[in-house]
Amino acid sequence: MFSFAPSLVGFVRPDIDWHAVAPELTLLGVGAVVTLLDIIFLERGRAYTSAMAGIGLLITLIPIVTLAAQGTTREMFGGAFVVDNFALVLKAMFIVVAYIVVLLSTNYIAEGDYWENEYYGLLLSAVLGMVLMASARDLITIFVALELLSIPAYLLAAWRKGDLKSNEAGLKYYLMGVFASAIMLYGMSLLFGLAGDTRLSEISVALSGGDAEPVAILGIIFVIVGFAFKVSGFPFHTWAPDTYEGAPTPVTAFLAVASKAAGFVALLQLVYAGFGSRDDVYEPLFWILAVGSMTAGNLMALRQKNIVRLMAYSGVSQAGFMLAPLAVIGAIGDEAVSAVVTYVLIYAAMNLGAFAVIITVARRTASGEISSYSGLFGYAPGLCVVMSLFMFSLAGIPPLGGWFAKFAVFRAVVEADTAWGYSLAAIAAVNSVIALFYYAKVARMMWFEAAPAQADMSALRIPPSLLAALGLTAAATLLFGIYPPAITHFTDGALIALSY
């Protein structure tokens, strides 16, 4: 019983690099302030919560910028927490995405009377989990970050307590999410057993030894399957359409962009820094996931009548494109990471933009049906142009951002110069064409179909926060397409540091 005593006496607090954890600490502080505001001022504080959350998120960008300006890779806890280029780019993306989600939520949550303080508090803690995930190079850290971003998201999905659809959204998301994370944990326990350590660098060493084959293979498969749920890859996507439809639309935007990106962040770190040498195990798995997601997502999206469900299946298909470079990562290494990060960043801009339009249009039509977009050109021509921009960008039409994202993925896949890579590129090309059908269907409805006779045709008034969100996302979508160096400046080169 006393055998642990000597090791406790010898305990030394590990050095903490305060600058490296400053973004997380700032975000934690902002979340605490937002919660305190509610406790102290009660109802009077409500009007300021969303502004506080938004400003707090922008303040969190400051330490990220100062870290980027220094440009050195920082490590803590023996390599369990790393701040490198990869971490900084994705942390900045998560913060900006969260800021736009706050902009989308402001009117929706205030007018719907949906417990504002708790909403923003939970949103901020989910963002904290994502920001932490970008630095996590250790199984325990990855697990804690994953749960920190998932648990608030389960609550947010079920936010409309009295609405049966929202209950159902929360329940399905919760059950699938918890089941997936339990399976992922079982895989992690096997990997831990193999390496005797939870750091990805040690796991990489143990896996390259090549012994304990079944344990290694099972561990890798379980962990990847667990994250395939998070990124809604086929066949683990079944929760996505129902959860997206039932959850409040700003929460859906958050899940579709930030939560999916967090899953890819974890996958990239695990595969690149941890599973490295075992490409014989994970590459075929990613090939199947990528092809299945692209194809199944597209085919299901073709027959959707609800715009949010269409976006859910389009998200499954887009996840397939993001998974594609992972299927050839053994041959091209860094470049696969760059391609996925490029795609994730551009996808965030265009998908958030599309959700901003959906939220704005629903303020008038109070409907999610694609047919309710008929006659949009009559009362909101500007919105109509912006929505077409996002739809064609998602389809990958030049010169919009989505085109460059697809180009980056095709380049990476072809560069691998293997039969797997070429077959993947061919399937992806066919799928890009199929995708155009359903994106163009929305555009046709807006531009050419007449509105129902009894429709209110007065010009649609867009609140300033939604206008700001629309402007930011549209500008980013255009900029990334017309001037790709704006994004390759951040995503090219060795993003994930393997300094240990």
Binding site: E168, L175, G193, G196, T198, P241, D242
Partner: protein, 99 residues
């Protein structure tokens, strides 16, 4: 130290848990099945930790226990919400949205 015995126990628990999640239609029983999987993970972690003579396994298991408690708290809240609105926790009846 019989590592294999522990791993076998954990594997059996894991399989029972997965079966429970897939076959049970009662919300609370599904939550309990998920707990079984998480306990299989804990047994694995502690057994491997002892095998490698490191405390990291036990620390990981403590994190899993803590987070599982939080998860079940949320899960029961959602199941309770469902019961309030529908008077039933049968998961098969939760199918308003399809396609």
């Amino acid at each position: 130290m019989y590592l294999n015995t522990m791993l076998l126990l954990a594997a059996v628990l894991f399989c029972i848990g997965v079966y429970g999640v897939l076959a049970r239609r009662n919300g609370v029983l599904v939550l309990m099945s998920i707990e079984l999987i998480l306990n299989a993970v804990n047994i694995n972690l502690v057994a491997f930790g002892a095998f490698h003579a490191t405390v990291v396994g036990q620390i990981f298991a403590l994190f899993v226990i803590t987070v599982a408690a939080a998860e079940v708290g949320i899960g029961l809240a959602i199941v309770l919400l469902l019961y309030r609105n529908r008077r039933s926790i049968n998961l098969d009846q939760v199918d308003l949205m399809r396609g």
